[in-house]
């Protein structure tokens, strides 16, 4: 009879063995995945996160524009925060450069950003990431900087606005930060007030950006800016900075929110018009012609917030590469649309729920092949503060059959 009972302990052992595996968890390091919300106790401050970079030795630096109700200058000042690899604050420093423009750049061991002085003159400021001290500053001979980008050849490209000639202003700089090439795209109307309200965070936040494309058929920049009365994505030849084509929309109320090249003339595009957001994961675009945004076949994204900011980026894993579009939904969630490169099929939609309003501002792929998302959140529904989410690559890996 005892023999008949022999398998019962085996069964119990199996159950306990299975549980033991779950109890004996794989160690997850804090830097593998975290969520951090960076609070400042002063209620009158409002943080507008702009950009984040991962430092080569680990850790992050992120940039925010800070509006202080009590400040006599209407334009937000600059705040830089250095964190450890697990998101803990190492230092946080404010400085008097105004309206910092995306993005942060790693330049010869320093962290660089573009901002303006109180006379609207654009400067490149280089900061020692170990201490936060400003090590260099360079006058970029431009006004009202709206976006900064380090291209694939290590050249600084900056978008600004010239309120004298009423033009969008794109400049490319050499290694000494001298203007190499420059181009002004006439707006043909005075949009200085809109630009000012964008810079001082009191009006609509326009999706100004600079992207890059190659072999489509030539190499160039895709610049989202005001041009010829409207908010347009203008394609500029990289060698001459002359405009070759564009995608236009209705005045300044509609536009493209992100562009990423997928291959040759195939681009991933998100846009907003008529109150909705749209996505074109693989739109055929001729960079040498002018086309209307509404002529591109698009899928609606009703869940995104009104005129949602969307960040497009590549995610390169060991087995495959993907295109990510990251944004925020009406129910206070971060959302990540993951498209497979090559097939352009949506293979995954990831949500991260919050209990307050969130806005996505920047996304980077980290050295461990995860991603870091910088955004803003209204703590207690009142105070705008930056947050940083670090995710491992696991959620992006295709499920095993």
């Amino acid at each position: 009879m005892i023999r008949e009972l022999g398998h019962i302990p085996l069964f119990i052992l199996l159950v306990f063995g299975s549980s033991a595996c779950e109890i004996d968890q794989k160690e997850i390091l804090p830097e593998d995945g975290f969520l951090k919300i960076y609070n400042h106790p002063e209620e009158q401050l409002a943080y507008y996160p702009e950009s984040v970079v991962e430092l080569p030795g680990g850790g992050y630096v992120f940039l925010s524009a800070v509006k202080d109700e009590n400040d006599e200058v209407e334009y937000p000042y600059t705040n830089l925060v250095r964190t450890s690899a697990s998101g803990e604050v190492s230092w946080s420093l404010d400085n008097d450069w105004r309206a910092p423009a995306s993005k942060l750049m790693l330049i010869n061991g320093t962290v660089g950003f573009v901002a303006m002085n109180q006379q609207f003159d654009a400067y490149l400021i280089l900061v020692n990431p170990a201490t936060g001290d400003v090590t260099e500053q360079h006058n970029l001979e431009m006004t009202m900087p709206l976006y900064a980008h380090m291209d694939s050849q290590g050249r600084l490209v900056v978008l600004g606005y010239d309120f004298v000639t009423r033009s969008s202003w794109i400049s490319q700089y050499n290694g000494s930060y001298q203007v190499q090439r420059s181009n002004k795209l006439p707006v043909n109307t005075d949009l200085e007030y809109l630009v000012q309200r964008h810079l001082n965070k009191t009006g609509q936040d326009y999706p100004f950006f600079i992207g890059e494309y190659r072999n489509a058929p030539a190499s160039g920049y895709s610049v989202n800016c005001f041009y010829n009365y409207t908010l347009r994505t203008v394609f500029l030849d990289q060698a001459s900075l002359s405009a070759t084509g564009d995608i236009y929309s209705f005045q300044t109320e509609e536009g493209i929110s992100s562009v990423i090249q997928k291959s040759a003339s195939l681009f991933g595009v998100t846009s907003y018009y008529e109150g909705n957001n749209y996505i074109m994961p693989a739109a055929e675009i001729d960079v040498n012609s002018s086309s209307n945004i509404k002529d591109l076949p698009a899928d609606p994204l009703y869940e995104l917030t009104y005129r949602a900011e969307v960040i497009a980026g590549n995610l390169v894993l060991d087995t495959a590469s993907y295109c990510l579009f990251v944004s925020q939904t009406n129910d206070n969630s971060l959302v990540i649309y993951q498209y497979e490169d090559g097939t352009d099929v949506l293979i995954n939609t990831l949500y991260r729920e919050f209990d307050q309003v969130v806005v996505v501002n920047d996304v980077i792929q980290t050295a461990d092949k995860g991603i870091a998302i910088l955004g803003g959140i209204y703590i207690l529904g009142k105070y705008q503060r930056p947050f940083l989410v670090k995710m491992t690559q696991d959620p992006f890996l295709p499920e095993e059959e």
Binding site: E4, F11, Q25, L35, F354, V389
Partner: protein
């Protein structure tokens, strides 16, 4: 002793058990995944036990019943993980509500086997634990306290070994307990930040009260968690990220239980006071 009819029945049962056990042996590795095989195992166990206990007089030392109780959870923090970082250098802390505010409950089936000195008790049932995590969000002119409530419901199988003292009017006991629990699924996103199994161990003490036809078992137990119950890979997947991340914690609890037991042996004594003629 089994009669002749009983022998035939036992023989048939044993043949069936052998078949089931043979299948179980073949598929033992699959049993963890396949609920049908688990049920087959349990069936084999019940049939096995019944036949065996009939033959050995096991039932004469068996009491079964049911019970209810309350528990008070106590959280022990192993490692703190904060969502909030202060840009001015202030450190945020996480706190948990105290035991008196963490009242949960349990419902269970109570089965025990006893001899002259020891009692072995199984109390499988539903055990529910409650506690709250408290975070202060500090601003210059206001400090807001955010409370995140948790309700963790487990299917648990506590096993107790008790040493009984015979004090005539009272039948107190003291012993040790070990419990294996498995958390039930929940729609609450924050519950996803915990692993499913939980193992606790501790001490138990109590007394039996003989009420002639039934026996009451009143006991107190303190169970200490022996491992971290937080899912390390999901600690930030709280579903409402503005409040907290899950710390590494142990879930300890103090239980007070009352069971109603029925003896399966023929009732010989109706109370502690026996009359002899």
């Amino acid at each position: 002793m089994l009669n002749s009819t009983g022998d035939v029945t036992s023989f048939q049962i044993l043949r069936f058990i052998r078949k089931v056990q043979h299948l179980c042996t073949l598929y033992c590795l699959e049993s963890v995944r396949n609920p049908k095989i688990i049920v087959a195992f349990l069936l084999a166990f019940l049939l096995n036990s019944t036949a065996w206990s009939q033959g050995t007089g096991f039932l004469d030392h068996l009491r079964i019943g049911f019970g209810i109780g309350v528990n008070a959870s106590q959280i022990a923090v192993l490692q703190t993980y904060n969502v909030f970082e202060d840009l001015t250098g202030t450190t945020y802390t996480n706190e948990y509500t105290g035991m008196l505010k963490n009242i949960g409950n349990q419902y269970f089936v109570h089965a025990e086997w006893f001899n002259d000195y020891f009692i072995v008790t199984l109390k499988p049932g539903t055990y529910t634990y409650r506690f709250k995590k408290v975070n202060d969000v500090v601003f210059a002119n206001e400090t807001t306290t955010q409370e995140t409530p948790y309700l963790l419901r487990y299917i648990a199988v506590p096993l107790e070994v008790r040493y009984r003292f015979d004090l005539l009017r009272f039948r107190p006991y003291a012993g040790a307990t070990v419990s294996y629990s498995h958390m039930l699924t929940s729609l609450d996103a924050s519950n996803q930040t915990f692993i499913r199994p939980k193992v606790t161990a501790g001490a138990v003490a109590g007394t039996y009260i003989d009420l002639r036809y039934v026996i009451l078992d009143l006991n107190v137990a303190y169970l200490a968690g022996i491992h971290n119950i937080t899912s390390k890979s999901n600690r930030f997947a709280t579903g409402n990220g503005s409040t907290f991340a899950q710390d590494d914690i142990l879930l300890n609890d103090l239980q007070i239980n009352l069971s109603l037991l029925f003896s399966l042996q023929k009732q010989k004594h109706y109370s502690n006071v026996e009359c002899f003629y």
